[in-house]
């Protein structure tokens, strides 16, 4: 089992997930350091991420968008606040508008990622800290809302082409 622990602190409002991978620490570091690998797992499967910028150095900025099944885009930004290869990285993470500028009212999530060698395997601990329950709710609602919009769009397109539906029934 890869995920070995998940801790939730509702008072400090943070979430910790500890996972172990059958790979060396330098290999696991690459899933963060290489934007082409990062974009294969950061966004949900139906909303793949594309990183346009990825300045992987302290103070560097990353910007990305996630594309929904109907082509809708949700944008995000990161700022790397600490990088110590291949052991530790920290970054702030928030939503961005269509110009890539941070949307302040959506708040910021701070993430601290630690990699440790455990006998050739790699243990990755990720701690995500939220500003408030309200910020976390907005963030999750945003994902949900986008997902709903996509689902509604798909229903609309199915309803708009009754011919296809009839063929399937026959």
């Amino acid at each position: 089992m890869t995920v070995i622990e998940a801790r939730k602190d509702t008072t400090a409002l943070n979430f910790t997930i500890v996972a172990e991978f059958e790979a060396g620490i330098k290999r696991v570091w690459q899933i963060w350091a290489d934007p082409r690998q990062l974009e294969r797992w950061w966004g949900p499967p139906t909303w793949p991420a594309t990183f346009e910028d990825h300045e992987f150095q302290p103070g560097g900025k990353a910007s990305y968008y996630m594309t929904g099944p109907e082509g809708g885009k949700a944008r995000g930004w990161w700022r790397f606040t600490a990088i110590d290869a291949p052991h530790r990285l920290e970054f702030d993470d928030g939503f961005a508008d269509e110009n890539g500028d941070p949307v302040a009212e959506m708040g910021t999530t701070h993430a601290v990622v630690t990699l440790e060698d455990v006998g050739g395997r790699t243990r990755m601990t990720t701690v995500s800290s939220f500003e408030s329950a309200e910020q976390l709710r907005k963030m999750l609602d945003m994902g949900m809302e986008e997902g709903m919009k996509e689902a509604m769009g798909q229903i609309d397109s199915v309803l708009a082409s009754p011919g296809d539906g009839r063929r399937q029934e026959d």
């Binding site: 890869t2 979430f15 997930i17 696991v28 899933i31 949900p44 995500s128 976390l136 999750l140």
Partner: protein
């Protein structure tokens, strides 16, 4: 709210919040009011400074026992009995996102 589901940190926060007589009194007052209390309205009931009452309110807010909402120049304090449960549900949802990410990272790593 089922106490045995709370983490040690949550219990510490909760007990710390409830360990003070003034804070328990603030909760009782706020629970008994429909529209909530302004911080200055609360402060009028206690023989201590506005800042001291504000600090008590902040401890209760961190323990998710009350909520504070800005209305004009006033801060309105309301009871938040479901607070801990709500934060937990949100964190459960967030956990789902990360479990999915870990599964995909594993797939990428097994490619070599």
């Amino acid at each position: 709210m089922v106490v045995d589901q709370l983490s040690d940190a949550e219990l510490d926060g909760l007990f710390q919040a409830l360990s003070d007589g003034t804070r328990r009194d603030i909760i009782a007052r706020v629970l008994g009011s429909d529209g909530g209390y302004s911080v200055s309205g609360l402060a009028a009931h206690y023989a201590m400074s506005f800042a001291a009452v504000q600090k008590h309110v902040a401890v209760l807010e961190r323990a998710l026992l009350i909520t504070k909402e800005k209305r004009g120049r006033e801060q309105i304090v309301r009871a938040h009995p479901e607070g801990l449960g709500k934060a937990r549900r949100l964190l459960d949802e967030y956990e789902g996102i990360w479990r999915q990410r870990v599964r995909r990272i594993e797939e990428i790593l097994t490619e070599g």
